[in-house]
Symmetry: C2
Subunit: 314 residues, 2 copies
DNA sequence: GCAAATTTGTTCGTATGTATT
DNA sequence: CAATACATACGAACAAATTTG
């Protein structure tokens, strides 16, 4: 036990949290109580709480106290294209339908788990303590901006930095909970060439890909998605109401759409990019799925981190 | 300016880091220097440094000092199946070939950027400061364990908790840098049915999927991948040498393989799961890509977080 | 290889500020 | 407005890790 005092305190509390002795949402004793319980200075107690905060086990609220984190039920987005619509998850209204179905199913599972548990007299399972956000998924109206392509957009659209582009930005919510931020960039030439709805701040009901096919005959021949994790910027931290301590990162999706329609490949070899979408979601409550070949409809229950973790040993 | 003092200090340093005034790898003044520079107590300076640490901008090393973080060149794993081999990224030796190619290309790009920069006399670009780990990708020999299915495995293999399973665990490195941990679980029945290599602690050269097809006629009809982000457990933090402050999370991949070969669907409707793989990688140096349809061979340069971030505004 | 110097890490005590009930 | 609880800030001392001489 060469562990410093604050770590001993933290690990003691961690044990209590993970064993369920302290339940999600429950208030911990205040700093003065801990000072007595562990015979430590207040600063040392605060170090311990900070260590737990950093690992996402507790959160502190000024004037209220320290609380065991209530984890959020993850929202699962399917990234592979739906064979029927050709639309991938996160695109258009299809995503909303999927989320509604997920939430309904999870509420059922949770209720079932609760009943079984009460019958057997055990303590609540983890699945039961996950918080399901209230409300329906919805999209704010898009905002549209005509501007010049920044480097990271130009590179992906294979145009020159500073070329005319149109960007469509949209915010998504689940009830009152912010869910995702999304910005899609198109060369302005597409709008000039007849796809004028790209520059209107209104939803494109049939989806932009279908709209481009219909109006200017541009068909998407494929797409590529890049997935990465990074710290949120200030805009994102504000929008998602992420804690100030930088503990929650964001998942960033970069989706590039390609076409092989000759008019849009600039004489180069196709496939050529015609749009790029940046989507950002908080990493603590979103998961992705993608499928290949034949697979069952049903998706397994939410991955339980702690258990998987323990199976990770050599 | 209602900002507390430690935040003012932190934001001042953040500005210096992001402007390039303080370069990656550079040592910052020590705490005593900052104490004088900002007329603050040592603890207040330490709060500022802690704030920067949490956001991944600096790291502290006892006895040495505080340093601007050198970010790692991300390793990109393609998750969609290779149309030729049917193997998806992270599976078998194919992943290594891809990584070698990536690294070669990035070294070239970096060298090119450096020459252009020196010609123009500007300051180093971000791409140039990213650290490329030394050495070749390699796999440690697998370890094999015969055990009973834990709940989270049983659920995904649609067997009963406690049923006999074989788990194959493997560690991957790039040079001396730990890259990923992976555990794959199969029902032991597959090995009993003739696929005996599953229980041997040796690489299956042709890949397990091909091996199962060859030996017992089990074909994979599809698969599903789940992607999530979570804090590392102790095993993972040790293996990846992640900082003790919990700042770096891990990407967790859960890949379930399905078969429709009648002997292996237990009389139920196919597709039926026959294996599940858990892969864990540090989230600060790994990215995923997947493709659909026709897409260009070439992958765009690594996503530059900070720039994308600024494009995220409404 | 060891001792000294340097630098961050841990712990204590105390006072005051700010958010919430 | 008062009470409660966490947040910020100061000062001080000793411990542990690392580098330097």
């Amino acid at each position: 036990m060469a562990d410093p005092l604050y770590r001993k305190i933290a690990e003691d509390l961690q044990r209590k949290i993970e064993s369920g002795e302290l339940e999600p949402g429950q208030r911990l004793p205040n700093e003065e109580d801990f000072r007595n319980e562990y015979a430590a200075a207040r600063n040392t107690v605060r170090e311990a709480i900070r260590w737990l905060t950093q690992r996402g086990l507790v959160e502190t609220r000024p004037g209220q106290g320290t609380f065991v984190i209530r984890r959020l039920e993850p929202i699962i987005t399917t990234l592979s294209a739906d064979p029927e619509t050709g639309m991938a998850g996160g695109e258009g209204q299809a995503a909303f339908t999927e989320i509604r179905r997920q939430r309904e199913r999870k509420r059922e599972l949770r209720e079932k788990a609760r009943q079984e548990r009460e019958a057997s007299g055990e303590k609540p399972s983890e699945a039961e303590t996950l918080e399901i956000p209230e409300g329906e998924p919805r999209a704010m109206p898009p905002t549209v901006e005509l501007s010049f392509a920044p480097g990271y957009v130009a590179e992906r659209l294979r145009i020159n930095e500073g070329d005319d582009v149109v960007s469509r930005h949209q915010q998504f919510y689940i009830g009152k909970t912010p869910w995702s931020l999304q910005t899609t960039w198109y060369p302005l030439a597409l709008a000039d060439g007849g796809a004028t709805a790209l520059t209107r701040p209104r939803d494109i009901e049939e989806g932009a890909v279908e709209y481009l096919r219909k109006t200017i005959g541009l068909t998407q021949c494929g797409y590529r998605v890049r997935i990465l994790v990074r710290p949120p910027n200030k805009t994102e931290a504000d929008f998602f109401k992420l804690p100030d301590d930088g503990r929650v990162q964001v998942l960033s999706l970069i989706r590039t759409g390609y076409t092989s329609t000759p008019e849009f490949t600039r004489g180069e070899n196709s496939p050529y990019p015609f749009r790029v979408t940046f989507t950002v979601l908080p990493a603590d409550r979103n998961q992705f799925v993608f499928n290949s070949g034949d697979y069952p409809e049903e998706i397994a229950a939410p991955a339980r981190d702690s258990e998987i973790a323990s199976g990770q040993q050599a």
